[in-house]
Chain length 105, copies 2
């Protein structure tokens, strides 16, 4: 995922989700589409395997992160996540200060 | 991964690695063990699937991140990564300002 020059913000979401079935994946896709339409959204990287996941979303500023967290549909998804899918998760809000990348020539 | 109260630093490493075989996994394990012995190391979250990976490592401060980046064995691993395994990667250095977690009761 290409992002603009720092500074910007990252939300690092790490989770353990042993119960994730088709309903989880449908909801994850829906939330990704919804996030994309939010003001200040810059992009997302996400990798999951059978039992764990890391999703990092990138945002212009803290204000856009707070708006996304408070979004009504996202709030409902967060509740379902706690009730149904997640064994545990951590959320870390971090200011990206420096970034570099490698592309194989 | 439990980490101390913010502020601390996160290095967000996202990669595309279509070529990762047993030699890659052996090296990744070796680097994880080496990272653990570095001053200022706080922990690591890592998830890979067939073709992509996200590793987030946590550090006390920027100084400990620079030391780890410059570590001789790690430098050699970084070179091999570019030559052999990674199609592309991004590294983002970010200051964690806020964190919270959920554990299913």
């Amino acid at each position: 995922m290409m992002t603009p020059k720092p500074p910007y913000y990252a939300v690092i979401f790490t989770s353990v989700l042993p119960e994730a079935g088709a309903d989880y994946h449908a909801m994850a896709e829906k939330m990704e589409t919804l996030a994309r339409s939010q003001p200040g959204y810059l992009g997302m990287d996400s990798v999951r395997n059978e039992a764990a996941g890391i999703t990092v979303s990138y945002w212009q500023d803290l204000e856009s992160i707070h708006q996304w967290k408070d979004n009504i549909e996202h709030q409902a998804a967060q509740r379902m996540g706690k009730e149904r899918w997640y064994q545990e998760y951590q959320v870390r809000v971090a200011k990206v200060e420096h970034a570099y990348s490698f592309d194989r020539p």
